[in-house]
């Protein structure tokens, strides 16, 4: 009897874990898939299909350390752009501005960040719309 209970609980736990995982997985896939489209429409012209940037004019999106360090600001960059400044990416200085996307909804920002954050060698997991909303509150 005791064994049966243990077995039952174990199975239930397994089911819960698997279903939770797959829900998170599904959310990730949804974000990533839609993010691909946002990226194509809004980012790819400049940053390139493989996030490679353009010579010394436009920085690539492959600097995993930079993205991690500035994770809380990424949503602000997408929405409000970057004013004329010098940014060091992959050890190289890039000078210039990035255009804003003031009309972009938070969900699109979350999706495109999830796409960028998990492409071009980056592995940041899902960046949810809730995180984006919190980050947007704090934009300078």
């Amino acid at each position: 009897m005791k064994l049966k209970v243990i077995a039952f609980i174990t199975i239930m736990l397994c089911v819960i874990i698997v279903s939770c995982q797959s829900e998170a997985e599904q959310e990730y896939k949804r974000y990533y898939g839609s993010g691909t489209l946002v990226y194509k429409a809004k980012c790819q012209n400049c940053h390139g299909e493989k996030g490679e940037g353009l010579s010394n004019l436009i920085p690539p999106l492959t600097d995993t350390a930079y993205l991690k360090k500035n994770k809380a600001q990424l949503a602000c960059f997408v929405k409000y752009g970057i004013k004329e400044t010098i940014t060091t990416i992959n050890g190289k200085a890039y000078e210039g501005a990035m255009p804003a996307n003031v009309d972009m909804p938070a969900i699109d920002i979350a999706e495109v960040l999830t796409y960028i954050g998990n492409s071009f060698g980056n592995k940041m997991g899902t960046i949810t719309v809730d995180e984006v909303n919190v980050d947007l509150e704090k934009c300078k």
């Binding site: 790819q44 012209n45 400049c46 353009l54 010579s55 010394n56 004019l57 436009i58 000078e95 255009p99």
Partner: protein, 219 residues
């Protein structure tokens, strides 16, 4: 049997060569054209006069004056851009960079990019842009000059749309055309500079055009 197969192969190879030779591809001559009837030696002769790109005067990223004379004997590709362009210019110049790298050591080929925002894009700004893009030497010129002249050249001669419009991102309307011009200054091709496939076709067409010109000279 093996011998027969070999024979077939050789015959096929030969006909393939011959076929290619007889059917050498030629690029069309584009733009407006006029029929002009002249009297030569008492005979009426009608000739087609093709539109050509007229003379111009601009300054390149090194501050040198550039006119049609500077392009004498060259095939060239022209486009219109501005350095602060947020929309299609980066992708155009990413693709143009492929063209530049393919032909940068070819003496009779050039790329000229006209800025449609000469007020901002001074010679110094253009030089900086060229450096950042990673281009040097004299095979790709970034040209700056009189705004009216640039817009006229774009609209009336290259037949591409160029205009100022504060309603569009960046403030200028322009299309991403690459215009291929031959040594006689005639337009030989239009390619969408934002489309990698069309730019690849242009690279092929430039090779055809160089071969065409060289055989014409040989004859």
């Amino acid at each position: 049997m093996k011998k027969f197969a070999g024979l077939v192969l050789i015959t096929l190879a030969f006909t393939a060569c011959k076929f290619n030779d007889a059917d050498k591809p030629r690029l069309p001559i584009m733009g407006n054209r006029d029929a002009v009837t002249k009297t030569i030696n008492g005979k009426q002769v009608t000739d087609t006069v093709y539109q050509t790109i007229p003379d111009f005067k601009f300054v390149n990223q090194y501050g040198d004056s550039i006119t049609q004379k500077s392009l004498k004997g060259d095939i060239y590709v022209a486009d219109f851009f501005f350095t602060t362009c947020p929309s299609i210019c980066p992708i155009m110049h990413r693709n143009m960079l492929t063209v530049y790298n393919e032909f940068k050591n070819v003496p009779d080929f050039k790329i000229i990019s006209h800025t449609i925002d000469p007020k901002h894009d001074s010679v110094a700004v253009m030089k900086k842009y060229a450096d950042k893009l990673g281009i040097s030497g004299n095979s790709w010129w970034l040209l700056q000059g009189n705004k009216e002249q640039t817009y006229d050249l774009g609209q009336k001669d290259y037949l591409v749309a160029v205009k100022q419009d504060d309603g569009t991102p960046g403030g200028y309307v322009h299309q991403g055309w690459f215009v291929l011009v031959d040594k006689q200054k005639r337009i030989r091709g239009y390619y969408d500079g934002t489309d990698e496939k069309q730019v690849a076709k242009m690279i092929g067409d430039i090779k055809i055009l160089r071969a065409e010109v060289n055989t014409e000279i040989a004859q």
